[in-house]
Assembly symmetry: C2
Homo-oligomer: 338 residues x 2
DNA sequence: GAACGTCCTGAACACGTGTGCATTCTCATA
DNA sequence: TATGAGAATGCACACGTGTTCAGGACGTTC
């Protein structure tokens, strides 16, 4: 006999197993004295209830499936950290699965979650493509997206937590404009991510507000990674009239840009100002330290999980929560030199 | 009716539910023709078997619990990535839980895994304290440790995957000694981690082999994080005769050391050589690029999971697997200047 | 002393799947 | 045609928990 069951306890206590079940769930239906005795016996036998059997009976697994595009992404890792913590606090466990942005794998992951009868699904930073939404909705399970990278197809059953990209982006631009910069470039991402689109929108709004012209040649695209950021920066430097400040879609792009600048012997921030986005740990250890936008990553994960738990308790929640980023001014920005 | 069950299929196919069960598991006991018809009906009804019910019947959940000290640690995140991938490949799902090195939480996590009847438990980079081992062994479930930070208390039922710290460490030292360094310092960790002890042992072995004296003042302790690394470096710089090369317990410590050196205007590697350990992504984006030891992080995770799966298939496996690190020489090491 | 209400307990069943065993069906052989 | 073997199927139960309902024990009231 591998595990002790409530029947074993029942035998030892000379009662029936439903009584044990009730005693252990502190039901008022069982006499205090008996309940106490049963609980003592359960403890002495080292009883641990089977979540499996309980799930089968109650049709709730207290389990959340979390899909990530990559766990190795430090941004996502932080978010997951908050997700797991909140889940644990409420007695939920998380199934972690990464899709690697691979459609086949995404399908397998969702099927796996379905078979395991998760109570809800959390998706971080995914594009939730055409393929994905019907699959998910078919499960009839609450879904919360974190930093959704798709316009907005909430049919009412999809909830989300995202950062207010436009606001954060205009704040970055206000900072640069306030320092006196006039030729400000934007290094974006390539894939048409929603966050990229919004940050670019903020960039343009701020330019318009300051009555600066929007110059298409100052918007170039990387790939969200250092390689692409470096290449994008090279293209900016090759312009007849290069920018004096560059706002990058994310810190990884900024890292690549920084390396390219190092390679050209261009001093940051004396000759060129650089801003990132995300405030990854690495941003505090570059030289110069990177000015960037901090997102409350752990908190976003926690909020997403708490929305989920509310939904599962049938407490309705706000559909789309926007959190605010915070501009962290470090050493990579300064007034232009002339 | 939320989910379709094999009974629903049985009704539609006018057979009994055991026949459906057998047909869907490709049992040879059911006639090919009938099996095909049943599978078609199952597909058309969108049937997904309940892993819960199956687990209850078979007493195997195809589920692995993974305990980490922190998901936000980039090293661990990479390991987990390999773990999850291997698990997915074999039809297993992973429960992720972080302990934050908090004993209360550790206990809760293990209990949670126990109740969920996981088939096995994976622990990364944990100290597996006195509290922990009996708890885990009590579950009578295979356990695989990754980078275990505790001497060795494998009572036969604990398996592990670790890096060969001593070998990697002596290789680092051979590199530095080969460059001509004679005063080489070691910035260690504080907690008495096994990996720290072993890397220090490799340091001493290499010194002995080269017939250099071991100087206690050249061994200082940080905390495995940039702050501690920086402070440790400050102490080394304050010595009457500072080292010409510094070998750091890990990249995070090296990062802090590098900042301290920047602060003092000491050029790396011209005036002082610096080596890290782990080859975190960040090591490729510092300036200068950090010479360090690369560990096959994802692969280690994958191997650990594959050992686990072997164990669950009753195929015995090597108890302790050691993988080799690789010295990555980048820009932070050079011959001493005099 | 009977009727009634309250409090507690146990019997029976449900959840969805897997499996040992008995049973039926099919077909070839005697 | 009867018999047997072997293939195909169904019956019954198990897994561990929760829940509904019926019923027993006990005390109170008329």
């Amino acid at each position: 006999m591998q595990h002790v069951s409530i029947k074993d306890i029942a035998r030892a206590a000379k009662v029936s197993h439903p009584t044990v079940s009730r005693a252990l769930s502190n039901s008022p239906l069982v006499k205090g004295e008996t309940a106490k005795r049963i609980r003592q016996i359960a403890a002495s036998l080292g009883y641990r209830p089977s979540a499996i059997a309980r799930s089968l009976a109650t049709k709730r697994t207290k389990t959340i499936g979390v899909v990530v595009t990559s766990i190795a992404d430090p941004f996502i890792a932080d978010v997951i950290s908050g997700v797991e913590e909140a889940a644990n606090d409420h007695g939920y466990s998380v199934f972690l699965a990464n899709s690697n942005a691979n459609p086949d794998r995404e399908v397998r992951v969702v099927h796996s979650f379905h078979e395991r009868r998760v109570d809800g699904i959390l998706v971080t930073a995914s594009r939730v493509g055409a393929l994905y939404v019907p699959l998910l909705s078919q499960l009839k399970v609450p879904i919360v997206l974190i930093n959704n990278q798709h316009p907005d197809e909430t049919d009412g059953f999809i909830y989300s937590v995202t950062i207010d990209n436009i606001k954060a982006s205009t704040e970055v631009m206000r900072h640069l404009i306030g320092l006196g910069h006039k030729r400000i470039a934007y290094i974006g991402d390539r894939g048409g991510f929603q966050s990229d689109i919004e940050r670019l929108a903020g960039y343009r709004q701020a330019l318009a507000f300051a009555e600066y012209p929007f110059l298409p040649e100052l918007v170039v695209h990387g790939d969200g990674k250092p390689e692409g950021g470096g290449q994008a920066m090279e293209r900016l430097l090759a312009l007849p009239n290069p920018p004096t400040a560059v706002f990058c879609y994310n810190d990884m792009s900024a890292l690549g840009a920084l390396r390219a600048l190092h390679g050209h012997g261009i001093k940051v921030p004396e000759e060129l100002s650089l801003v990132g986005f995300d405030d990854l740990a690495i941003a505090s250890y570059t030289s110069p330290l990177l000015t960037t936008v901090s997102q409350p990553k752990q908190q976003m994960g926690r909020m997403a999980m708490e929305i989920m738990i509310k939904l599962l308790s049938c407490i309705d929640s706000k559909t789309n929560i926007k959190v605010e980023g915070e501009l962290i001014v470090r050493e990579s920005t300064a007034p232009p030199k002339f």
